[in-house]
Symmetry: C2
């Protein structure tokens, strides 16, 4: 165990350079606080909350842990403005923004001493984030669950390009579920990792138990990136995804796909446990995760696997 945290961990205000992604329907106060208590940085996922609920989760997390807890605000969300106001009002120490311009809120957050990370799926966008004055970027590869980028760059190919392109800290995301994958991410030059799926599949995740169990039982080939004509989304196999894929194969346009989706599918799938008709957003790494441990156990494993991997990396 090191005597002091890494520069990135110091910036994040935690012990290990491990962030739990702020995921819609999974990342409530309970998960975020458990991650921060374990030595990482937990994020409350604003995408599935209105301003009042967001505020309640921020306050609840503070009751659950004395360590810093951050938030995620997707900028395309219609309530982004209201969530940003809550984050400022509650003096949240760090905000992760995604899907939208990094210039939108960064100056305001920075002026109030709030650190800002933005999610970038390409080297070009990472450079724009740096120019916008963010403290760091999350670079998320094709493997990642939920909303994804049109570029389809995988974490292995994307991370080194971003590391070479910017001079700010880089968190690798997408496909990181164990300590070997975390070591791979750091070998690629990332300063730390943002982990989603592994934390969505914990006891503290607020996702519905039926969704979590469905993920734990899924095989290697369980997810696919679909809806590429709209905003690409990686989701678990189920009847809804079958219909989407069949429509896409037949040449369905944006409007037809939106009609299939209707409204409220992510909540139905991930929060209410409607396995076949809900939208089940999860990363490709779910196919190799077959249990639902507590967050503390995830940290124990990540750290011990990471260190074993680091020591075993051979001279060639």
């Amino acid at each position: 165990m090191p005597s002091s945290p890494s520069p990135l961990a110091h910036l994040l205000g935690c012990r290990y350079p491990i962030v739990a992604g702020g995921m819609a329907w999974c990342s409530g106060a309970k998960l975020a606080a458990a991650v921060s208590a374990a030595g990482g940085l937990g994020l409350i996922g604003g995408a599935s909350m209105d301003a009042d609920l967001f505020r309640r989760h921020i306050r609840k997390a503070r009751q659950l842990t004395s360590r810093p807890v951050g938030v995620n605000i997707p900028l395309t969300f219609h309530q982004a403005e209201a969530l940003a106001a809550v984050a400022i009002d509650e003096a949240v120490p760090i905000v992760f923004t995604s899907a939208g311009s990094p210039r939108r809120f960064t100056p305001e957050f920075k002026a109030r001493g709030i650190k800002v990370f933005h999610v970038a799926p390409s080297p070009a966008l990472a450079c724009k984030c740096e120019a916008a004055g963010v403290d760091g970027v999350v670079v998320e590869g094709f493997e990642a669950g939920g909303h994804n980028a049109h570029e389809e760059l995988t974490t292995l190919v994307l991370v080194p390009q971003v590391v070479d392109a910017v001079n700010i800290p880089v968190l690798a995301a997408g496909g990181i579920g164990d300590g070997r994958q975390m070591a791979a991410a750091l070998a690629l030059g990332a300063d730390g990792v943002q982990i989603g799926t592994r934390f969505a599949m914990t006891q503290e995740s607020s996702a519905h138990p039926a969704f979590k169990e469905y993920c734990a039982a899924a095989g290697s080939d369980c997810t696919r990136l679909v809806l590429k004509k709209n905003i690409p989304v990686r989701m678990m196999a189920n009847r809804l995804r079958d219909r989407i894929e069949a429509a896409e194969a037949a040449g369905a346009d944006r409007e037809e796909l939106l009609a299939i989706l209707g409204r409220g599918r992510p909540e139905a799938g991930m929060f209410r446990g409607e396995i076949e008709e809900g939208m089940l957003e999860i990363g490709q790494v779910a196919g190799m995760l077959h249990d639902l441990p507590p967050v503390a156990a995830v940290f124990d494993r990540l750290l011990s696997e990471y260190e074993a991997t680091r020591r075993a990396l051979p001279k060639i």
Copy 2:
């Protein structure tokens, strides 16, 4: 520098656990011999050769280097049988097979003392390869150029699953163009790497200079996996790919896509340098490679970057 090669390198008959993929239109005797001379294992790519040409390249490689050189035989190729007979007749030391059943030729090769590796894009197929008696598997992720798997598992997610599933050596492939990516692959548990794109983009590659220069000039977002209704192929952006993607978006079926492809597109693009109308098969990592060095320089970089990465991997 280690005093003795790794167990995998020993099995491959070379110094470093680095194999150059046997790529159609790129991997002639010149490239394969240069890789073996530099301490890796070079493969002659049988997919673009008839039996006579294949034999000439095997013999020419022997004139160029005293180190072992292997071959790649795609089992779906209509001349696979004839190429296998040449490999046996010429007593090639090691054969890499792909795209088809690993049981087809493995017993015959093994009976004659020829080592066999088979390409597997999923843990399930890797297990079948092991059961078929191969000496090792190449696990190739979504990032890889040319023909690819329907599963779309990325190297980061695929390699650990295969490492956990089999007890034979595992070569990671797809997205490995520099020493950081090589270190990432070994962190994931691979015993070595198979590298395609980086060697396709060398002076010794037999690809047309116009194709190589087009790849070196390409940006981050240059490749896409298309033809998923047929056999998925990762290819570089050009007019041909635009037509394929437009047809796919409109719901074109297999037959319509085959009509767009016609015949001889890979040769036209990669060997004759018809940049806009040929099929330009290359991996996603091409987007971060911007030069065409000699093979020896690629090895120098891979090895020094790998070692620097290994030493710098932090305790956390």
